[in-house]
Structure formats: structure tokens, C-alpha cells
Symmetry: C2
Subunit: 415 residues, 2 copies
């Protein structure tokens, strides 16, 4: 019997009426003969409420105790969903992560799943029950609750699907799939029927909020067929139609060969650029600059070091805007220490990226991208590349223009 894992986000679980909708949808799949495991998030707003309470008590909440608190949102969700299924005559049972057990390491608030013991879940499924498991959390070797971090329920769902060798993991969310770019920016943006997990990974880590990037890594590592689809459709729509809707994250690269070179365009408004000028070019300079930044718990995105001229070089990197002021403060100290000339920054920059596995076998993607931006008069501040993506940093005021121009230049509106 085919096993399907459903994951529902906080918006889908946002009220008791919506939870009843989720139950109707899950029941439809069960009626059609599938074994179903459901992984719901906390009701929307609940995790923020809990973290808010914690912050009223400690500015920097103790991570173990924060996990104790934050994990309760999902526990409420699973109980409510189990009841909604029981109320319509289905057999259902809910479990918290520790009850399954989903074992994690002890990195509270950002734990990683180590193993899943599915014996109890398997027995329930075989007895005809729908099993509902808390997302976002597990338990360490000392029986402490540990959460996986924001968006962790996606990872829970994919990890459970992997551990149980599920036939497919369906991520129900408030968008109806993965688009070539954000339809709010480019009207012609088109939903992708399939995307490779590598492309999805780049899109996820580039700020496209559809799926948490760790869940995509998991899907990739364990080859879990994962589909992103809408939870806003009629829960009683025909199952065949629903089962082929959304976007499938695939592992069959061959099927991509006939498709476009570029799959999508991602962008991130939340960037700030910092440059440290006139740095004496000695071994270890990157470490001396970025070490203190990392120590201050600031995440760095793009990094560029210029060619050295007369023993001096410039060093530029980007951080998220929320950490810009803090990073500038750290750099002022670093400047004196390493004898650099000055530090300058710009918090009004954005990143635009083109992503596609087709890039591997097609030359000219970069030059096409740069030509398009040049024709629009957009100056490129930084460039960073990986095997399947090219990112540029530009003035934030040109961001929408750049995305629209690139979407058109790469013919993304066409199937």
C-alpha cells in the first residue's frame, strides 16, 4: 500500500475551521487507499507568541528552555488535527517527536535529526490509522526536547518520508508551487511542473520562501520525491488532479534536458554590502576580517577579495540588513587592528540570481545575464557563481527591473 506524507504549514492550520479542512483533505487520501502520515506546523502566530513570552523574560532565551516552550505549538496542532479526523469517523492518533521517537542532536533551537524509529507509526498505519506527528522537533539522547529551527516542520516531514521510504512527500502551503520567479514582481511568472532538487536548493537558499533549504537537502540526500502544492484549493477536489498539481522536486535530471537552460530567477532584497579598503595583503587577511564577524554571530553571504595592487587589497562581503549596523561596528575594530585604510558600507542593495541545472551544459548564460542588465543600464556591484546559479548584487532600486528583464531574456514565460 502506498505511503504518503502530508505536511501542512501554519496558515493551513491557522484556525479550527482550517484544521477541519485539512482533515477533510487527509481523509480523502486515506479513503483512496493510501497510508497517510501528517506533519502539521503550529497554528500561525503561535510560535511567535511563545518566543515573545520567552523574550519578555530573557533577552537571549536559554536555548534548551526555549525549545521546551516553542515545541508546544506543534503539540497542540497534532492533537487538534487528530480530533478533527476522529470527528469525521477516521481512526487517527497524534505523536510528539519524542513519542515516535525522532532523535536529534542537542543543538537546541537548531537541532539536526539523527534517526527516526518508525516502529510505532508503522504499526498504527497497518492498523488503518492516520498518524499525525509534530513537525519542528525531536528529542536528544538525554530526553531533552530539541527544535529544528524556523521552518523545521518541512524538514521533519521530508525526514519522516525518507525514514519510512514514503512514495511521496506532499508539502501543502499557501502558494500553489514553485514559480520561475515571484509573480508579484513579474506578471508572466510561470509555475514549474518539475524542478530538480539542486535548483530547488539554490532557490530555497536564495530567499524563495517556499521550502526551508534543509528540507530540500534532506529530500536530495535521501531522494524523497517531494511536491509543493496549495492547501487553499477545495479539499474535496478530485484526488488525481490534486496529486499532479503544484511542483514536483525530481531527481531525474534527464527529463530536464529538453527544458529551459534556466529554471528560475530568485532575488533577495535583504542585503547589505560592507567594504574594507586598503587592507595590507598578507596571508590570513580574510580570516582576520571574517573571524570577528563570525564570532559576533553574523552570517556572511557573498564574499569578494580584489586583486592586490601595491600590497594593498579591498575586501567586500554582504550580510543581511538586520545585522548591518552590528557588522559595521565589528569592522571598525578590525580596521584598526589590521591597519586598513577605511570601511564603507551600503545597506540599499539587492541580490538577483538566475538558477538552472541546464547551465552546466550551456555556455553563455553569464554573458546573456550581464548583457541584459547592461542594456537596462543596471550596474553590477558584485558577482558570485556556483555550478547552477549566477548571482549579482545591484542597487536595490533596480531589483524589480532586473528580475523582469532577465525573466524575459531567458524566455521563462514560455513553457
Amino acid at each position: 500500500m502506498a505511503l504518503i506524507v502530508h505536511k501542512y504549514g501554519g496558515t493551513s492550520m491557522g484556525s479550527t475551521d482550517r484544521i477541519k479542512n485539512v482533515a477533510a483533505r487527509v481523509a480523502k487520501w486515506h479513503d483512496a487507499g493510501y497510508q497517510i502520515v501528517v506533519v502539521p506546523s503550529a497554528m500561525s502566530g503561535e510560535t511567535n507568541r511563545l518566543i515573545g513570552l520567552a523574550k519578555q523574560i530573557m533577552d537571549q532565551p536559554d536555548p534548551r528552555e526555549l525549545d521546551m516552550i516553542a515545541s508546544t505549538g506543534e503539540q497542540v496542532s497534532v492533537g487538534l488535527l487528530a480530533m478533527a479526523l476522529l470527528a469525521i469517523g477516521k481512526q487517527a492518533v497524534s505523536y510528539a517527536g519524542w513519542q515516535v521517537a525522532i532523535k536529534t542532536d542537542s543543538s537546541f533551537t537548531k537541532a539536526r535529526i539523527q534517526s527516526i524509529d518508525d516502529a510505532k507509526v508503522r504499526a498504527d498505519l497497518d492498523a488503518g490509522k492516520i498518524v499525525i506527528i509534530t513537525g519542528f522537533q525531536g528529542v536528544d539522547d538525554e530526553d531533552n526536547i530539541a527544535t529544528l529551527g524556523r521552518g523545521g516542520s518541512d524538514t521533519s516531514a521530508v525526514a519522516i518520508a525518507a525514514a519510512m521510504k514514503a512514495d511521496e512527500c506532499l508539502i501543502y502551503t499557501d502558494v500553489d508551487g514553485v514559480y520561475t520567479t515571484d509573480p508579484r514582481v513579474v506578471e508572466e511568472a510561470r509555475r514549474l511542473k518539475t524542478i530538480t532538487f539542486e535548483e530547488m536548493l539554490e532557490l530555497a537558499s536564495l530567499g524563495s520562501k517556499v521550502l526551508q533549504s534543509r528540507s530540500v537537502e534532506f529530500a536530495g540526500n535521501y531522494r524523497v520525491p517531494t511536491r509543493v502544492l496549495s492547501s487553499l484549493t477545495d479539499p474535496l477536489m478530485p484526488l488525481e488532479e490534486e496529486a499532479s498539481s503544484g511542483t514536483l522536486i525530481s531527481f531525474e535530471e534527464d527529463t530536464k534536458m529538453e527544458q529551459a537552460v534556466i529554471s528560475g530567477i530568485a532575488f533577495n532584497r535583504d542585503e547589505a554590502k560592507i567594504t574594507i579598503l586598503g587592507v595590507p595583503d598578507k596571508p590570513g587577511v580574510a580570516y582576520h576580517i571574517l573571524g570577528p564577524v563570525a564570532d559576533a554571530n553574523i552570517e556572511v553571504d557573498m564574499i569578494i577579495q580584489n586583486q592586490s595592487v601595491e600590497g594593498k587589497t579591498d575586501f567586500t562581503f554582504t550580510v543581511s540588513r538586520g545585522e548591518y549596523q552590528k557588522a559595521m561596528g565589528v569592522l571598525e575594530g578590525v580596521k584598526t587592528e589590521i591597519g586598513a585604510a577605511s570601511v564603507s558600507g551600503d545597506a540599499k542593495v539587492s541580490k538577483v540570481s538566475v538558477v538552472g541545472v541546464g547551465m552546466r551544459s550551456h555556455v553563455g548564460v553569464a554573458s546573456q545575464m550581464f548583457r541584459t542588465l547592461s542594456e537596462e543600464g543596471i550596474n553590477i556591484l558584485m558577482i558570485s557563481t556556483s555550478e547552477i546559479k549566477i548571482s549579482v548584487l545591484i542597487d536595490e532600486k533596480y531589483m524589480e527591473l532586473a528580475v523582469r528583464a532577465l525573466h524575459k531574456a531567458f524566455d521563462l514565460e514560455k513553457e
Copy 2:
């Protein structure tokens, strides 16, 4: 080193500021050299909110799933209190019932504690930590969360104190102790410095809301010295003064011998009386009347069966007012079945009880009680007695009058 268990109710935990107050009080005790285990309730209103969500989904929520949901309120409380202690430099750690583990049976929503494994808690205490444990809940043999029912955190605290052989269990609440009667009804009501656990049991089960009756049973069975005291005092008040405040539930009956015959007067407005008249007096009649009532999950309080006259008898019992209509419905069916003449009821009655272990060795308490009520012109509708209490059912409009008259007749205002 002396071990003290503190229990704080929902009002004491009602906001993050109040939780900081609790932390300050707990820290004071720890600073004074005590080992401290704290058992907090959910923040006030939280358990009702969670049950409300469940009832939006199922009119009669599934008990196992309800416990999954309802238990989260305490989990949030323990995490917040641990943080509040960490924030003021104390070592603290929180545990959910299953982490300790507190083992219960599988009677979801009204589980009973079976055993407590205190190894982990003991190790933490010996390492200098303050340990915070969720009230109201435990875990059954199949790792299902089970709650103890409303007010169950009192029971958790006393059970933990018993299991760990604590020197005293302090129940902090929003009243400053146990009174001879409700001060809102009798101005002269006096706080008792000590009360025996048997008296406390009668007062608790008679509707005095200070302590849940199961917690008193536990205190009695395991001889846990338990003190009820106020959480509304200044948390930094001198410890010696705080340690002797409130009311101590004692097991030293000898000390009571010199005290009053009657310790207090309890009352319960929430009563309704049902009489089934002209019942053919055959063996099993009580069962045929009360069986269907119990099957409808209605709790019966007082029961009287009259002397049979000409093979017919009358049968009277009381239920809480909320179940009056339901019980009347059940009785209409029973009437036909057993061939009784008629069913009548009165939902405007109240119960007044005098309680005291001194009653055992003093005759005349009943006659004193009945004379007092007679002098006030109050008609007694039903009487029920136990070894240390006498309860009468009267018209609700005389309730306050009866309580005041009895309080005076038994000299309860005098120390």
C-alpha cells in the same frame, strides 16, 4: 539538606512579570540553603483556551488527544520559570512529566499517578540546580501523555513531595490560607494556623476551592506536611515569616485536642435536588434509579431513601445544578421503567456543612447545628453525615444566614 516543594497556581504564573516574582521567591529559598523543586500550573486562562480550541473541533473531545493539547500549558510555564531563574543567575532546569518520569495510568483527563522516578531530579538538586516540573500531567506505560484533571497540579506537587520525601510542600495560591468559612460570607471568618488532613479533605470535597481533594488524599496517605499560603505577598519578605504563614495541614491529631470541636463551615451553592416518588420498594431499586444516572456520567452527591410505607418509598438525591436538566430527563425514563408515581425536583438548594475532627469525641454537635438552624427558622431538606462532618441541604436563600449563624454558634471567630 532540607528539600522543599513549591507549587504555584495559574494566577501566580499569570504573566511574565508574575513569573519573575515567582522566580525571586524561589531564589530566596534556594539562597537560604534549601533544595527546591517547583511545580507551576499553566498561565491562567491557558488551559481553558486549549480546551476551547478542542471543543471547536469535537463537542466531546477525544480524551487522549485532549491531554496531548491541554498538557502544553504547563510545559510553557516550566520553561518560562526556568528562564526567569536563569535570568537572575540561578541554575535551573525544567522537565515535562514524561521526562522525570511521572508514571500514570491511562485514564486520560483524569489519570492517577502510579510512580515517580526521581533519579534525574535528585542528581540536578545535588548539583545545585532548582528543578521545575510540569504539574497536572504524567505519562502512561505506552508513552502517552495523561493529565490528572482540573487542579491536578496540586496533586502533582504533593505526589512529588511524597516521592522525594520532601520536608514540606508549599502550595502558593491567591488566598492566604484556609479559613473557618468563606470571609465573603462571614466577616469574622478566621484563618486556621493548622488543620488536620481529614478536615481539609472534607473541606476540599465540600466545595472549598483552596486545594484539590486528591492532593489532600495524597498528602494524607503519604503524610506530606503541606502548607497553603499566599503568593501575593512580597516575594522578598523574610523567609522565616513566610515559612510559618498560611495554614499547615498537619498529621498530629493530638495538637488538635485542645482546639475547637469544629474547624470550619463549608458550603456549596451549586446543588439541585431530585425526588422520585411512589417507588415500588423492591431489592435493587437504588441501582435501577442511580445506574442510568451514572451511565449518563452525572455525579450524585447526597442520597436518601425514605422508610417504605405500604410497599412504596421515596428516593431523593442531589446533583450539581449544571446537570440538573440532564438528570431530570434520565429520571423521566426511569420513572416509567420502574413504575414510580412521579419525579419532582428543586434546583434552588444549597448545602452547608460543619467539619471538625473534634466531633469524634464530642457529642451534641448535630443537635447544636439543628437547634441553630431551627432558631433561624431554616428548614432542613436533607441530612448527610460522616465521621467528622454533618451536611444539611437547605433552601438556597437561607444559605448565607445559615453559615453566619453556625459560625457564631460554634464560636469559630475565637482563636
